[in-house]
Structure formats: structure tokens, C-alpha cells
Amino acid sequence: MMQTARAKAGLGRALLGAALALFAHTVLAQSKTVEVGLIAPMSGPWARQGQVMKTAADLAIATINAQGGIKSMGGAKLKLVVFDAGESVEKAKNAAQRMVAESPNLVAATGAYLSSFTLAVTEVTERAALPVVTFSYSDLITERGFKYVFQTSATGDQQAEGSLPALMEMATQASGKRPKTVGIVMDNTAASVAFVKPIKDHQLSKLGLELVVDEVFTPPLANATPLIQRVRSKRPDILLLLPTAISDAKLLLEKMNEFGLGRGRLPTISNGAAILDPDLRNNMNVAQLEGVMSVVANWPTASQKGFVEEVRQKTKEPWPTQHFVTTYGDMWIFKAALEAAGKADRAAVAKALRSMNLTDGAAQFFPGGSVKFDAAGRREAAGLLIVQWQKGVPVTVYPGKDAVAQPIWPR
């Protein structure tokens, strides 16, 4: 009897030992790498932007790991897992489902470029309790009462409301006098229409501006001459130029140069990052872009010392764009959350994101200089930047604390 009991005890101890060893092994394995996800279009019409995001994430992770990884987790290394959101909402949702099903170790993800993709992806990740950080603008993303989605950009509505006041403030600072007249030349796509709606609704009257040119065209534009002729004859103090297609932008800007309105002589401002894309340099004479401005949710700012130079050296990108900076910053947000959580666990990372209040590190990659999310998951300090083409490179010129250059503005 004794022997049997001892044998049993021995067996129990052996099993316990094995279990402990297994546990320790698991913990060690987990502490070695922590998986974070990037879900973005790697194929299809938006593949180029997906590649930019991947390049940014790779660069950030390389830097984080080189600096010792996640210190609270014994120097665990970050590992990026990429999922192709493809070219349709269905593909994006499939990719999200694949992400949660096949990568149970993911602690957080960023994506998914287009708002509609992000909406579909977060429907999946929310149910899997996987935190997702996104720069998509749609207000809906953080209006659904979701607990695991974090929006770093100013939302679409915030941008539409905030752009014109920001522009007026910058104009007043730069030229010493307030603009009195404004012209709008826009296409009739959803993005442009949504952007202009609050401006026409109430902002013009509130800001005491007179609308002297109001032209809408259906892309693709065949001939920009009549539009620009009207702009020249009315000569507004500022011009909102809102094409969506690159080809239309090129046509309009070339015509403005031909009519002597280009190169900053007529302050011209657009919306979104398309008109600041490096690809534009291959399509038109860069000199004609000089002075053109755009309102964007993110861009390299004065707080990032040496960042632009580093990107230029280590990647093939001529400068970091909105998607680049944001995705790069997202990786630093993940790092900060993991440091706070101290373990590779979704729930803990989500909790850390909710209580996060950064003013350095990741915060330098987001306008407003802080990363703190409100109850809905919106970044509280999210604001707008105005970026201007200067000597062939788009640089941030507003607001002052983020600006890396003075705006070119006719006095």
C-alpha cells in the first residue's frame, strides 16, 4: 500500500513538474515575441498605400526591437503579421476573420485604410475583443459603441468643421489681414461634397466670408479653362480646390499656372493627402505645385526630430506621408500599451489603451501632441494640419507648434 502511495506521489510530482516546465516554456516563448497586426490593402487599387503602411510598421518595429523591445516583458520583441484587405469590403472582412481565427496571439492591430474596410474589419475584431487602432476618418467607426476600436485621426465631421477656421487663422497670421472672399472649385464626389457642406451651410457667414466663385464639375474634367477663367475674373482671396482624381488636380493646377494664378500667387488649398502624394511628382512639373496646400489629419511635424531624414535613408519613400506617419506612430502606441500591460494579452492591452495618456514617445507622431482616448475611442487631441508644397516637398506649415516651415502666402 505504501509503495503504491509513494508511486502515486512520485507520478504526481512528475506530472506537476512537466506541467510547470510546459508553463514556463510557454511563458518564455510568449515573452520572446509579441504579435501585432497590420490589415490593409496589399493588392488591388490601394495596394500602394498598403505597402506604405507596411514599410512604416516595419521601420517602427525594427527601431523598437533594436532599442530593447518591450522592457516590462523582459525585452520581448514585436512581430508584425500582415493581412491583405484586398479591394472590396467582402475581402477586407474575410481578411479580418482570417486574422482573428488564425492569429490568436495577436494583441492588437492597425488598419484598414479605407473607412468602409475599417468598419467591416472592426465588426469582426470587436467580437473577438481584439483592439484595433485606425486612422480612418468615418464618424461611424466610433459611433457604434464599440469597446475595442481607437481612432487617432480627426473624424470626417471634425475635419469638415475645422478646416476653414484653421485656414482663416493661418491666413491672418501669415498675411496680417483676414481674407474676405473665397472661391470653391470642386468635383461632385462624396468626399468633396461632404467637406464643403458645413462650409456652405454656416461657416462662410460665421466667418464673414463672401463666396465669389462656386464651381462644381463631374470628373473626369475635360477642360479646366472655363473654371479657372472664372476664378481669375473674380479673384477670390483664397481658393478651395477640391479634385479627387490626380488627373483632374493636374489639369486644374496647370491651367492656374498658365493663367498666372499658380505658385502661391492665389492661395490654394485642397483636402486630403492625395494632392501631397509623392506620385504627383512623376505626373507633373513640381514647380507648378509650389504653394499648393492641403488639410490633412497627420503629417511629419516639428516634434519629430530626424524622422523624415531617417525615413528617406532607410526606405524608398521620399518623405513620410499621412499613412506612413500614422502607422509608424501606431506601432509606438502598441509598444506603450504593452509596456503598461506587462503581458501579451488582448484584454490587458485594450485596458492600457483606454487608460493611456501619452505626451511623449508615440505622441510626437500625432498632431496635438498627446495620445489619450475618450470613452468612444476617439483621440482627444486629434486636430488638423495644413501642409504646403515648398520646393518640391510638402511640409507642415500650420499650426505653429507643429510647423516645420513658414507658409508661403502673398502679402
Binding site: 496589399m42 493588392s43 488591388g44 495596394a47 498598403g50 505597402q51 500582415v82 493581412f83 491583405d84 484586398g86 479591394e87 472590396s88 469590403v89 467582402e90 475581402k91 472582412k93 474575410n94 481578411a95 476573420q97 482570417r98 482573428v100 481565427a101 488564425e102 473607412s115 468602409s116 468598419l119 467591416a120 465588426e123 470587436e126 468615418s138 461611424l140 457604434r144 459603441g145 464599440f146 464626389t189 462624396a190 461634397v193
Partner: protein, 582 residues
Amino acid sequence: MRRETVLIIGFGLAYAAFAALVTHSYYQLILTVVPIWAVMGLAWNLLSGYSGFVSFGHAAFFGLGAYFVALAQIGWNLSPWLGIPAAGVVGALAGLIVGIPTFRLRGHYFALAMLAYPLALMYVFEWLGYQELTLPMRRDAALQFMQFEDHRIYTWLAAGLMVLAMLLTGRVERSRFGLSLIAIKEDEAAAEAAGVRTLHWKLLAITLSGAMAGVAGGLYAVVLLVVTPPAVFGMLVSAQALIVAMFGGAATVWGPVLGALVLVPLSEFLHAQLADKIPGIQGVVYGLAIIAVILLAPEGVVWKWRAYRRKRARAAPAPAAASPVSPAAAAQRASGPERPVIFEARQLSKSFGGLKAVRDVTLQVRQGEILGIIGPNGAGKTTLFNLLNGFLRPDGGEVVLDGRSIAGSAPDRVCAAGIGRTFQVARPFRRMSMLDNVMIGAFLHEPSAAAARAVALDALAQVGLAEHAQRLADGLTNKQLRLLEIARALAGKPRILLLDETMAGLTGAEVEELITLIRALAASGLTIVIIEHTMQAMVRLVDRFVVLDDGAVLAEGEPARITQDPAVIDAYLGRKWRMANA
């Protein structure tokens, strides 16, 4: 239960059982999306596969269904359990509204016009401000709002819809509806002449098809939870419906399902496996796969398989040629000049541009007679027939049947009124069996498939083709084609039969056979008007001639008198010939 019904339900159950075993949430999603695209493919197939009116715009119905379900839940808090069936109604209405103007077009024009609807709707929904809709999360009433924790339930729902769509398609295929659609695809004009109400069936097809697509779109919205204009109205949606159906085999029940079963997972698999290594390569491989199938099986996998089976089954030799009509039937008919006029043309005229093809033609057809219309090539004989049966609307004059004017009536109405016809160049429905060909005619008075079948078999027997009933009309001899057309016309129980150059291209012996047949038909009480440009055979067949020349009536009368008429001889053989034989 029919064998096919059992197979379809068995397939659905097997699919559902397989889905029950899958716990991986990603594979579950794919298993859910496959039947949705199968339903969408079946929807496309019901219209385009069977009727041949190719639609590049099925996304319109799909998108309306998806938006309806999403907006109804957001706006009226309507559960998808009610929203999805209602999306079917929305799709059906959209189909009808689209169909009425668009069916004025044919061929490529129809396809291109269909392309416009989803594109237009895409802009409308963007303009309305519905760039992005999400179905609100309802954890409080998950069951009521189809928000199941267990994703397999979606798969079962989708599989259930797929089974319903397959059963519906199978039912349509076997009915008068389906055969009429196929006849329209094969030869719309011939179908009209055989009494098929083409617009009626086409509208019914697009309505049903729209309903199926609307339901598919509604379920898609529930599964995807996000609805955007490009996602549901985009070109990819219409293309996907078309591709799965064409890949598997259009105009079949299993084709679109097979297409969806292969292509949707293949595309996803390639996307998942290759996209992160070589971005975009999945599209190339997918495209190559489709090209390969189109080259190897241009009509789709199911048809290829059927052809293979038929080839193996064709070990037994084909039966002997058609048995001639029994001479007994060709009994002498009572003849008499004073039979009543039942059908006449009064000063009928038709011009094509400057060419006056038919000029003031007046002729009477008497009950039970065989009237021959002869004339040299280009005399306007076929144009006259086209005016008589409604293919053409006359510029002037009247067509009178039983004292009632029918000029300008559509061909199917004329056919229903009792006037059957055949064509100068035979126009069978080549991809249909002989029996089905003739059934199309029989449906005119026998809406049920069984009764139409009996009538069709009778008609085939009458012309001596009964033993070939199951053969495809493609590859028949000239004589068989002529007989088939006569049988198709006979099945519609006409009172008057218009035969357009039925003897053209036949050998002497075959002409004799045909004469015997036509005599027998006349003896059974049928009135026959026959066009021919050779006179020899006609002289022995007809009771009376009307001679056309240059669009006008040149002479009219008994064969003996007509063959002596100098004007006729001039028109036919030239003045010289008459002089030489005078």
C-alpha cells in the same frame, strides 16, 4: 419526389452537416459566402442563362436588397427576418421596373443598358449620403436581429436559401416558363411565331431573378454588417454572378452552385496564401483558372460533363430515318370553289426605305384549301408572310381573320388566333430536343407540361418524327428540320398554316413525301398557304395559285390556268421563252 429534388435537398443537408463540423471562424465565413454567391449566380442564371438576355447589371438588385435590409434595420428597427424577404420584393419590383424599358433592346444593347443601372444606383446612394452603412450591433436581441454568436447558423441560412433557389430553378426549367425562356434564347422570332408571349416570360424571369438577387443581397448585408455602394453595386458583384454561372454552366440548376463552390473558395484561398508574398498574384491565378475553363469547357463545367455522358451513352446506333406518312391519310379532299373566305389580305403594302416590297396585295384564303403563293425571287413572298403573321406592321391595308382585322398584332397573338407558320430558312431551337421544340408550340393551348407533352408527341407522330422525340434539334437533316417546324406549328392547333418554302433544298423523293404530308394535313381540315418559287411540285399540290411579282399580285387562279397565263410566264421565264414556245 423527383430524383433531382432529392439530390438538391440531399446536397443542401450535406453542405449544412459539413458546415456544422467546421469551427474555424474564417472557414465558417467562407462557407457562408459560397451559398450567397451561388444564389446570386442562380438569380443571374434564371434570366440570362435561360433567356440569353445577358445582364451585366445584377448588382442593381443585389445592392437594393442589401441597402433595404440595412436601412430598414437602422431606420425602422426592422428585423432581417422580415427585411430579407422584403428585400426579395424590392428586388422583384426593381426587376420589373428595369425590365419594362430594357427589354426593348436586344443582344449587346441589352447587356450594356443593364450595366448602367447599378452604376447609376451607386451614384444615387452616394448622393443620398449612404457611403457607409453599418448594421447596428444588437446584443440585447441577437436572435431577433440575426446576430448569432454561432456563425454556423449563417451558413445554414445561406445553404437553405441556396436549396430554395435551386428547387425554384429546377421547377422553372421543367415548366412552360423555362422552355419558353430557352426558346427565346435560341430564336426569339421563331418563339413568337410559335405563340410564345416573349415579353411576358422575359418580364417574369427578370422579376423572379431580381427577387433572388435581392434576397442574396439582403443576407449578404447581414453577414458583412457593412454596406457601401461599391461593395454591393460594384462591377465586381455583377461580374461575380456572371462568372460563377458561366463557369459552372449557364441554363442549368447545378452550374452556378458548382461555380460558386469552386471559384469563391479558390479566390479566397489564393488571396490568403499568395497575397502577402506576391501582392496581386491571386488575381492573375484566378484569371488564368477562368481562362482555362473557358477554353476547355466554353459552355461551363456542367454542360461539358453532360456532353461527355451523352457521348458515352451514344453507343447504340441512331434509329432509321423518318417513316413516311401513311398514304391512306392523304385521302382525296372534297373540293369546291364556294368554300367560305376565312383569312384575307386587303390592299396590304410595305416599304423598306425606297423599296416597295409589297404593293396593294389583296388575296383571299378559303376554308380548307391549299393556296400556293408563287413568284420569282424578290417578289415579296416572305415579306407578305411576315405581314400576315405579325412580324412586320403593314404601312397600309388590312389583314382580316374571320372578319376581324389583326394587322399590327404581335406574332404570338396572331399565332394564338390560329395562324401557324414555318420559315424559309428553318429556325429550330437547336439546343432543345425535338420534343421540347414542339412543346413550345403546344403550350399555346396546353399550359401544363404533361398535356403539352402529349400534344407534342401527337404532332411529331403526325409528321413521322415520333421516334426521334428526344434527339437534339441540332444536326438534323434538312427534311427533318422542315418536318420539325411543321410539327411545332401543328402543336399550336392552328386553323391556317403558313408554309414558307418548305420544299426548298429537298430531293425529289423528299418533295413527294412532303406533298403527301401536306395533302393529309389539308384533308384533316387544315387550311394551308404555301410559298414556293418553283412551280413543278406546286402544280400537283395546290388548289389555287396567287402569283406575286415585284410586290404586287400578278395573277390568281387554278393551276391549269396560271401555268398558261402569258403574264406569269413572262415574269417567271422571260418574254423570249414564251415567244420561242408560242
